[in-house]
Amino acid sequence: MGRQRLLLAVILALAFAAAVVIVVVPVRLGLDLQGGSQLTLQVKTTDAVPEITPEKLEAVQQVVENRINGLGVAEAVVQTAGENQLLVQLPGVSDPEQAERVLGGTAQLDFRAQRPGTEQQLGITFQAQQLLLAEKERIQDSGDEEAIAQNQAALDQSNEAIAEFFDRTGLTGDMLQNAFAAPIGANSWEVGLEFNQEGGEKFAELTKSVASTGRTLGIFLDNELLSAPSVAVEYAETGITGGRASITGRFDAQAASELAVQLRGGALPVPVEVSEIRTVGATLGRDSIQRSIYAGLGGLLLVLIFMVVYYRLPGLIADIALIIYSILTFAIFSLLNVTLTLPGIAGFILSIGMAVDANVLIFERTREELRAGKTLYRSVEAGFYRAFSSILDSNVTSLIACGALFWFGAGLVKGFALTLAIGVLVSMFTALTCSRTLLLVALGFPGLRKPRWFCPNLPQSTSSQAGVTS
C-alpha cells in the first residue's frame, strides 16, 4: 500500500505542476487562431543555380528576413520548410499586400561610385539616416502605428536621397562570388570580398575612379546603402586588382558577419515565388478560439458522463485520470512550445475521446474476471495485466501513423500529428499508471470494496469474496 501512496503523491504533484505550467507559460497560438498572414515562398532554381542547397536556402532566408524586418511587423517569423520553401508568418497582418510586394523581386546587390561634389551632402544625409534607424529600433515594438509609418516614410526618403549621390557601374551581385567575415587583430574584424573575372575588372575600374578623391564606393542592396567604404590612396594608380578586396572599418564580429551575410544574400540571384497565402482576420481567430473551447469542454464533459454512468466507480476513477490527462497534455504543449492551430485543437479533443480506450479495455477485462468468480482485487489486477498487450499494440500502430503524418506533412499537418502523438503517449501513462494507482488506493477503503460498484448484475455469491490480499 505504501508504494501506491507514494505513486499517488507523485501523480498529484505532476498534475499540480502541470496546472501551474498552464497558468504561467502561455501557449503559442497559430495564425489561424490569433489572426495574421502566412506566406509560403517557393525558392526556384535557375540555369545558374540548378539545385537549392541548404546553404542557399539559408541565404535566401536571410534576405527575406531582412526585407520582412524592414516592414516593421512585430514578431514576424521566417522559417525554412522542406528543401526549397520558406514560411513567413506575419501575426496581426490582415492584408499582406506590402509583404508580397517586397518579397516579389530578387535581392539586387550592386556596387556604385559616388558622384563628384556630393561628399558633404552624403555625410549629412547618412548621419540623419542613422538617427532614423535608431529611432526605428526604438519604436518598432511600441505599437504606435502612426510613428512607425512616419519613420518609415522618412527612411524611404533618405534612401532615395542617398541613391541620388551615386552612379551605377554595372558591377552587380551576381559577379560577387563570396563575402566573408574575418578577424584582423584582437577586437577588429573585416569583410572579405571575392569577385569573378568580370567582377574583378569592374571592381578595379571602380576603385581606381574613387581612390584618393575623398569619395566612396557605395554597396547597395535593393537600392538601400549597406556600406560606403572609401578606397585607400595607394590604389589610385591601378585600382584594387585581382578580384579580391576587404572592407575594414569599425566592425565587431557581429557587424562584420551581418554585412557578409547581406552581401552573400544579395549575391544569390534565385527567384522566389509566393505560392500560398493564408490570411485570417483577428476577429475570426477569436471566434475560432471560443468555438474550440466549447467543443473541447463539450467533448470532455460527454466522455466524463458516459464513463461514470457505464463503469461506475472505475468510471469515476477513469474520469479523474482523464482530467489529469487533459492537464498534463496541455502543459506539455506549453512546455514544448507547440503552436496550437485549429487542427491541432481538433487533434487534442479527439485524443480525449481516445484516451479512455485503455481504461475501457481494462475495465471490460476486470468485469470478465469478476463474472468468472474471481475476487475483486485479483480481477482488477488481472484486468490491468491482461489488457496490456492490446493497449500496447493499438498505441504503437497509432504512433506509426502519427510518425508518417509528421515526417511527410506540411506545417498544418505536423501540428496535428504532434498533438495526437503526445496525446497517445500521455494517455498510456494516465490510463495505466494513474488509474491503476487511484483504483488500488480506492480499494484500500473497505467501504469502496463492493463488486457491484464495478460490475452490475453480478451473481450474488461472488460479492462476499471481495477482499484485499496484498
Binding site: 492584408d95 516579389g104 500560398e276 485570417v280 458516459f306 498487450s389 500502430t397
Partner: protein, 319 residues
C-alpha cells in the same frame, strides 16, 4: 446478445460491397464533372478565396444586405466574370476566383470597399493557393499513407503473423474507401469540398481504426494459445463477442468527442470531424465484420498460417 459474425459474413460483405460500389460510382461521376474523384477545394486546384464581412459599426454600411448582382458586376469589370460568389449571411460573402496577384487583389478589394461598403479587415479571410501546392499536398499525403500502411504491416507481422497484418490492411482500405466514397457522394449532392484537412482525416483514420482490429486479433491470439485445437470460426466468433462491448464503448467515447467538434467546432472543422466520424465508425465495423471474418475464412481454408516475415515461433508467446 451474441453476434454470429461467421455465419452471417456474406451479409456483411454484401453490405460493405454495396456501399463501396456506390462510392466508386460517385467517384466516376465526379471524375467526369470535376476531373477528380472528389469535389476539390481551393487547396487542390489553386485560386484565391476572399471571405468578407461588412463592418456594421460604420454608419450606413449595413442598411441593405449585400447585393450579389452588384458584386458580380464588379467582378465582371475586373475580368473575373467566371468567379463564384457565395452568400454566407446577409452581410458576409465568399468569392472564389482564379489566382490573383497582389495588384489584382488590392484592386478588387478597393473596388468592393468603394461600391459595396466598408468591409471589416479584422473579419476577413483571404487564401491564395498556387497551382503547384495541390500536387505537392496530394503526393506527400499519398506517401504518408503508403508509409503508414507499410509500417503497420511490418509491426503487425512481427507481433502477430503476416496474414493477420494483410487482413488488417484490407479492413483499413475498406474504411478509407468508404469515407472517400461518402464524401464523393456529398460532393455531388450538397457540394461538399475536400481540402487538405480531409487528407489529414484519412491518415488519422488509418492510424486509429486499426486499433479495433488489433484488440480483436489480440483476443484471437490469446484464445488460440490457450486452446490450439479449437475451430478457428468459433475462436473468431468468441473473440469478437468478448471484445464487443469494448469496441462499442471506445467508439462511443470517440464519437462523443468528435460530435462536439462537429457541432461547435465551426465551419473549418465540421467536415473534418464528419470524415473522422465516418472513418472511425467504419473502423469499428470492419474490424468486427471484415478483418475477423476474412481471417477465419483464410485460416479454415488453408489451415496453416502463412509464416510471418520473421518466422520466429517464440515471438507469438508474448503478450
Amino acid at each position: 446478445m451474441k453476434l454470429q459474425v461467421i455465419r452471417q459474413r456474406s451479409l456483411w460483405w454484401t453490405i460493405s460491397s454495396v456501399i463501396i460500389l456506390s462510392g466508386i460510382v460517385a467517384m466516376v461521376i465526379s471524375w467526369n464533372q470535376f476531373n477528380s474523384p472528389l469535389r476539390p477545394s481551393l487547396d487542390f486546384v489553386g485560386g484565391t478565396r476572399l471571405q468578407l464581412e461588412l463592418d456594421c459599426t460604420q454608419p450606413d454600411t449595413c442598411n441593405d444586405p449585400i447585393n450579389v448582382g452588384e458584386v458580380r458586376q464588379i467582378l465582371a469589370e475586373q475580368n473575373l466574370g467566371s468567379s463564384s460568389i457565395q452568400v454566407l449571411d446577409q452581410y458576409a460573402i465568399s468569392i472564389r476566383t482564379t489566382v490573383l496577384d497582389v495588384d489584382q487583389r488590392t484592386q478588387l478589394l478597393t473596388a468592393l470597399n468603394e461600391q459595396i461598403g466598408t468591409f471589416d479587415s479584422q473579419a476577413t479571410q483571404i487564401d491564395t493557393v498556387g497551382p503547384t501546392i495541390g500536387r505537392q499536398l496530394l503526393s506527400s499525403g499519398l506517401l504518408a499513407l503508403i508509409v503508414s500502411f507499410v509500417g503497420i504491416t511490418i509491426y503487425l507481422s512481427l507481433r502477430f503473423q503476416l496474414d493477420y497484418a494483410v487482413f488488417a490492411i484490407i479492413a483499413l482500405f475498406h474504411d478509407v474507401l468508404i469515407t472517400v466514397g461518402v464524401f464523393s457522394i456529398l460532393g455531388l449532392t450538397i457540394g461538399t469540398e475536400v481540402d487538405s484537412l480531409f487528407i489529414v482525416a484519412l491518415l488519422t483514420i488509418v492510424g486509429f481504426s486499426v486499433n479495433d482490429t488489433v484488440v480483436i486479433y489480440d483476443r484471437i491470439r490469446e484464445t488460440i494459445q490457450q486452446d490450439p485445437g479449437r475451430n478457428i470460426d468459433d475462436v473468431v466468433d468468441d473473440a469478437v463477442n468478448q471484445t464487443l462491448t469494448r469496441s462499442i464503448n471506445t467508439s462511443v467515447t470517440v464519437l462523443l468527442a468528435l460530435s462536439a467538434i462537429f457541432l461547435f467546432g465551426g465551419e473549418t472543422l465540421k467536415y473534418f470531424a464528419l470524415a473522422l466520424i465516418i472513418g472511425f465508425t467504419m473502423g469499428a465495423y470492419s474490424s468486427i465484420f471484415i478483418a475477423s471474418t476474412l481471417l477465419a475464412l483464410w485460416r479454415s481454408r488453408f489451415g496453416q498460417p502463412i509464416s510471418a516475415i520473421s518466422a520466429d515461433p517464440s515471438s507469438s508467446d508474448d503478450g
